[in-house]
């Protein structure tokens, strides 16, 4: 089908501000938006820049605003976002500084991630074999450990847009993964971090994060679980 893709472009070496550029293309309904961007970059305008790697939704590189909604370009098919003769819009995710075209500065996002102690803590002497964990306990981490740190959630959150010091949904999901790990010993420290004024209480349950997640993680629900854990002082 024939479509127009309009892309919000920015070249820090030439432009004062972002501007839209339109590209006319013929695409297949089953093409990924990533394929469409590649078609532009490879055969129309090689100066277009965006991040991507795996191409199938596991590496988390290509989060962008597609038709006004945060999605992964590699997990969004043309037929779901544009019709014959229609226009598809692609912009960088919001709330992080635009470096160039669709590329944003990810450092603040990873700084928030690092702030929640995103690592397993158990200082007891390790047994010779694996620590045991029941399948039910393992399942408590099923959603939160599924996160790929793509930033779709955090950069769709109105609280994060208004106040960048909010740790944001992705970091809370990461904290959840450890708080609800029956083997981890740093629950109290993490609950303390979540209780700070940059933590869970900033969440106003707008549900944008849940809608944006390409891994279908019920983020708002996980944030609520963390809020309850903070209130009761335990997971």
């Amino acid at each position: 089908m024939n479509i127009t893709v309009k892309i919000l472009r920015f070249d820090p070496e030439q432009d004062k501000k972002q501007h839209w550029e339109n590209y006319a293309l013929e695409v297949a309904p089953t093409d990924r938006v990533l394929d469409i961007l590649h078609q532009v970059k490879w055969f129309q305008d090689t100066t277009l820049n965006f991040r991507r790697s795996c191409g199938h939704g596991i590496c988390g590189s290509d989060a962008m605003l597609i038709n006004g909604r945060n999605r992964l370009a590699c997990k969004t098919l043309a037929r779901d976002v544009v019709k014959e003769g229609g226009t598809l819009s692609v912009e960088p995710i919001r709330g992080l500084k635009v470096v160039k075209d669709l590329v944003v500065d990810m450092e603040p996002f990873f700084d928030s991630y690092k702030a929640i102690m995103p690592f397993f803590v158990n200082e007891s002497p390790a047994p010779a074999r694996e620590r045991l964990q029941s399948p039910e306990h393992a399942e408590l981490m099923a959603h939160s450990s599924n996160c790929i740190l793509c930033a779709c959630c955090t950069t769709s959150c109105p609280i994060f847009w208004a106040n960048g010091s909010y740790l944001g949904p992705a970091s809370i999901v990461q904290a959840h993964r450890f708080i609800f790990d029956s083997r981890d010993e740093a629950t109290q420290q993490r609950l303390g971090l979540m209780n700070q004024n940059t933590g869970v209480w900033r969440c106003r349950t707008a549900y944008n994060c849940t809608e944006a997640c390409p891994r279908e993680i019920p983020i708002t629900e996980l944030i609520e679980q963390v809020k309850r854990s903070v209130m009761y002082g335990q997971a």
Partner: protein, 583 residues
């Protein structure tokens, strides 16, 4: 900019992150330099499991794992590497669990294990549950866990720093030169030891499960220095890539009971591997599928795919243990594995060959025991050679942790006693020259035009079934493409985040990998493991039980010099004599 670290790790996937952790434990300063943010690395795309003889489900022993690995590698596997690996991997998996990796669990709370291709009990009698898994996102969990541990450890990362040169003076590695994508500036990393762990080069093929960024960078850089690449002719096609897209569908689906079917809905693997059927190793399954397709029993609009049938499996398995691939099939093909058979076809997946190393990860400079001081490699980019002519499923994740760890330990040990080597006056000169050359080109071919031809022709001429005339033709095609590449156009003149320039550099790396691979494949006149020749259909142990070492001829452009290296036919305590490979 100039930096100094005792140990510099290139690449931040499983092998690089493991190496960085272990180098740091050796009390040396460590930096990890990667062209991607660490969590974007392709280790995260591995799905099905990591094989270790824990015996949590059925009886298992490291000797059985060692045997399966060697037989799976069609006896080209170095048996000392296989023995070290099969023992070490048991501890390594336990260590991952102690790092917090959220494995799936058996009812008794131990790490869950399932069957996988080519993994058997009692030396081939029946399939065994050896693959330790975290649903069907085991690689994702390994990558996340190792990154978390590096955050805990305070590892210094240089993210989106693209290594473009390796500094080697008089047989000693002294560092690397990297290009900072954000600024376009070059950085010299002066190091006592360097560990290369930057992954494979699947993008040399049209249909691949590999990330767009897997372009064989460090293999090519090594090769350009006149150093050898080992066993490049052995490239694995994974049997089950999503039709047309090549996206990986884990072998774990067959481990959980999924069945391959042809257009008659026949379970055809019964004819090719009567004992273990759908759980035969990947080279055999991929060839069987292509044979079915060639004989007219393919499925799909172009009759070029095969069905994978999960419809008889319980919903909990499909949506639980196989949630990832269920999502992929629904997203990309609009098929629901609960009720539809899914269309798959073989997809270029894994390089068995690469930068030759010894058992401690140190890089080899020839086939006779020569080594590069201070240079180590691990993971898919390296060839130790654990996988021989064909890798078993789950052994790539095992390889990363076992040999990433060994490389990290060795590099730190070396760095502790070594002084910094001398850098040349201007270590960035060659890189600067290469980039200036690309930037000044005015050719009308852009990188994508050349890459497209390369990927299509490699698929056709050096794919699953090979023959002399097609590969000879490919040798000439690569020469022509290299000629065109000399004037490849780079339209983007900017300094910051110039993806056009990166595309051009990466294409150069791919062309080298294709050249070494094709020359090695033409040269090997036998069929072994993943290297299947229509004109030499038998394995020939008398002449070919040896590793290929491919060298770029620095005096004659386009020419590849071939040498050899003996196969280690004995482990330290066990040895398995080459036998016919039937399953």
């Amino acid at each position: 900019m100039h930096h100094r670290y005792d140990v510099v790790v290139v690449g931040a996937g499983g092998a690089g992150l493991m190496a960085a952790l272990y180098a740091a434990k050796g009390n040396v300063s460590v930096a990890c330099v990667s062209k991607l943010y660490p969590t974007r690395s392709h280790t995260g795309a591995a799905q099905g499991g990591i094989g270790a003889s824990l015996g949590n489900v059925g009886e298992d022993h490291w000797e059985w794992h060692m045997f399966d690995t060697i037989k799976g590698g069609d006896y080209l596997t170095d048996q000392d590497a296989a023995e070290v690996f099969s023992k070490d991997i048991v501890d390594a998996v336990i260590e991952l669990e102690h790092m917090g990796l959220p494995f799936s669990r058996e009812a008794d709370g131990t790490i869950a294990q399932r069957k996988f291709g080519g993994h058997t009990r009692e030396f081939g009698k029946a399939a065994v549950e050896r693959a330790c898994y975290a649903k069907d996102r085991t690689g994702h969990m390994i990558l996340q866990t190792l990154y978390q541990q590096n955050v805990k450890n305070g590892t210094t990362f240089y993210n989106e720093f693209h290594v473009f040169d390796l500094l080697i003076e008089d047989g000693r590695c002294t560092g690397v030169v990297a290009y900072d994508l954000a600024t376009g500036e070059l950085h010299t990393f002066h190091a006592k030891a360097v560990i290369l762990a930057a992954g494979g080069y699947g993008r040399v093929f049209k249909i691949t499960s590999n990330a767009f960024t897997l372009t064989g960078d460090l293999m090519s850089i090594y090769y350009r220095k006149g150093l050898p690449l080992e066993d490049m002719e052995f490239y694995q096609f994974h049997p089950t890539g999503l039709s047309k897209l090549g996206i990986l569908v884990t072998e774990g689906i067959r481990g959980e009971g999924g069945i391959l079917r042809n257009v008659n809905e026949e379970r055809f693997m019964e004819r090719y591997a009567p004992t273990i059927k759908d759980l035969a190793p990947r080279d055999i399954v991929a060839r069987s599928m292509i044979t079915e397709i060639r004989e007219g029993r393919g499925v799909g609009p172009d009759k070029d795919a095969i069905y994978i049938d999960l419809t008889h499996l319980p919903r909990e398995t499909v949506e639980g243990k196989l949630a990832e691939i269920t999502d992929l099939a629904r997203t990309y093909l609009g098929l629901d594995p609960l009720k539809d058979m899914v269309l798959v076809q073989p997809t270029a997946h894994y390089a068995m060959g690469g930068i030759p190393t010894d058992i401690d990860g140190q890089c080899l400079s020839d086939g006779a025991g020569g080594k590069i001081e201070g240079l180590y490699a691990a993971g898919e980019q390296a060839c130790v050679s654990l996988h021989g002519a064909n890798r078993l499923g789950t052994n790539s994740l095992g390889d990363l942790v076992v040999f990433g760890r060994r490389a990290g330990i060795s590099a730190a040990k070396y760095a502790r006693q070594a002084e910094y080597g001398r850098l040349s006056e201007d270590p960035e000169a060659e890189t600067r020259e290469m980039l200036a050359g690309l930037r000044s080109n005015s050719g009308k071919d852009n990188p994508a035009d050349i890459r497209k031809v390369l990927q299509e022709t490699m698929m056709n001429n050096v794919g699953i079934f090979r023959n002399g005339p097609d590969m000879e033709k490919q040798v000439e095609i690569i020469k022509e493409l290299k000629e065109r590449y000399k004037n490849v156009g780079v339209a983007d003149v900017s300094a910051k985040f110039n993806g056009d320039l990166i595309d051009a550099v990466e294409l150069g790396f791919l062309l080298d990998c294709a050249e070494a691979m094709t020359a090695s494949a033409v040269n090997r006149t036998e069929s072994r493991g993943a290297h299947e020749r229509e004109d030499y259909t038998e394995r020939d142990d008398k002449n070919w039980l040896k590793h290929t070492m491919a060298y770029k001829d620095l005096n004659n452009e386009g020419n590849v010099l071939i040498g050899y290296k003996p196969v280690a036919l004995k482990g330290y305590t066990r040895a398995f004599e080459p036998k016919a490979r039937v399953y």
